[in-house]
């Protein structure tokens, strides 16, 4: 059964009760051990791979050297034949033949190293993917556990602080009311601010003798005098 399915079954089965673990601690530990084992295998495979690749490079260099030597000796053999020295040519040809069998052995070794290296590379890649997958699964188990434990910590905190959990709608209403109050205050402050600036403008205009006439005693007297006439 996949980890996903296990967690789902456990949650649906009501394992969400406080204190009841989704996947028991023991199997989590075993799982962690498996991951560590896989990682050890991976390290070993990588080390082996380095060794094989070094051998592969050495074999490849050896193959090149023998090939060069064969070409060189083929040149010597031709030169010996040109000088009609059949015996020398034969000796060189024997040397070439020995080199060729050495080449074939060395080539075989190289092929085998190459095969090994490729196999190990595949193994390393596969193991790396496997470890990643194990870690993803472990993370699912651990996250589920952590959420459960966090939930019980939160629940304990709520019940100990005696704070009553509001319904979602009530919470929203209260938050909106607070927001409204804040907005109103902001608006009120703005209105007040603009009134203040109106007042100051009026004062400035008055000082400059512009705008509203003042109902001073003098102006009242002037008006009464005008009526008498």
């Amino acid at each position: 059964m996949s980890i996903f399915k296990k967690i789902m079954t456990a949650i649906r089965g009501g394992a969400t009760e406080v204190g009841e673990a989704i996947v028991d601690a023991n199997s989590t530990r075993i799982f962690e051990q498996e991951i560590r084992d896989a990682e050890n295998h991976l390290t070993r495979a990588k080390r082996d791979l380095t060794g094989v690749m070094a051998q592969q490079m050495a074999a490849s260099r050896e193959v090149d050297r023998i090939k060069r030597e064969i070409t060189e000796h083929e040149g010597y053999a031709v030169q010996a034949l040109e000088k009609d020295d059949e015996t020398l040519a034969l000796a060189v040809a024997e040397k070439i033949s020995a080199l060729e069998s050495e080449l074939s052995a060395q080539q075989q070794a190289l092929d085998s190293f190459e095969g090994n290296a490729n196999r190990l590379k595949d193994l390393v890649k596969k193991s790396e993917r496997q470890v990643q997958e194990y870690k993803r699964q472990l993370s699912m188990v651990k996250t589920t556990e952590s959420v459960q434990k966090a939930t019980s910590a939160i629940t304990d905190n709520f019940s100990s602080s005696n704070s009553k959990l509001l319904s979602a709608k009530d919470s929203l209403e209260r938050i909106k009311a607070k927001q409204q109050k804040f907005d109103d205050q902001l608006k009120a402050a703005e209105v007040l601010e603009s009134e203040n600036s109106d007042n100051s403008l009026e004062a400035k205009l008055k000082a400059a003798g512009i705008g509203g006439t003042e109902n001073s005693a003098n102006s009242v007297l002037e008006r009464l005098k005008a009526k008498q006439k």
């Binding site: 969400t16 996250t143 952590s146 434990k149 910590a153 939160i154 905190n157 929203l172 804040f182």
Partner: protein, 137 residues
């Protein structure tokens, strides 16, 4: 990353957060460390943050199963599933008998990422309750 670093960062922000929100952090002790984060003005919908081996989980409780209009439950589930992708950064889930909205971040997230996540989560939570209120008692 751990909840104490997050708490220190958010408390140090005070009024200078990028998001304009003011966060109040309070650690809750238990088997797993949990940080209760209240956004000022939205104390009724706190965000709970916990840190695991590879992620930072931010969870807000939305409503209880008992707050759902019984005959509208299936419709509500459908609506929540459909909203799951459009809803920025947050997803829905259920813990026990409580519906929750949550965001999960990589453990290597920056403080700015976490702050952004919390602000978006808080906004999402408010909006979701508003939008889903037809399904609720």
């Amino acid at each position: 990353m751990n909840i104490h670093k997050i708490a220190n960062h958010l408390n140090a922000l005070a009024d200078n957060s990028e998001t304009g929100m003011v966060f109040d952090c309070q650690p809750i002790s238990g088997e797993v460390d949990v940080l209760q984060i209240s956004v000022i003005g939205r104390e009724e919908l706190p965000i709970f943050v916990s840190v695991t081996d590879d992620q930072v989980l931010c969870i807000t409780y939305l409503w209880g199963e008992d707050e759902v209009v019984p005959e509208k439950k299936a419709d509500m589930h459908e609506a929540m599933l459909e909203m799951n992708i459009p809803c920025p950064l947050s997803s829905f889930s259920k813990i026990g008998d409580k519906y929750v909205i949550f965001g999960a971040l990589s453990i290597s997230s920056s403080f700015e990422d976490i702050e952004h996540e919390l602000a978006v989560l808080s906004n999402n939570a408010l909006e979701v309750i508003d939008d889903m209120s037809d399904f609720l008692l």
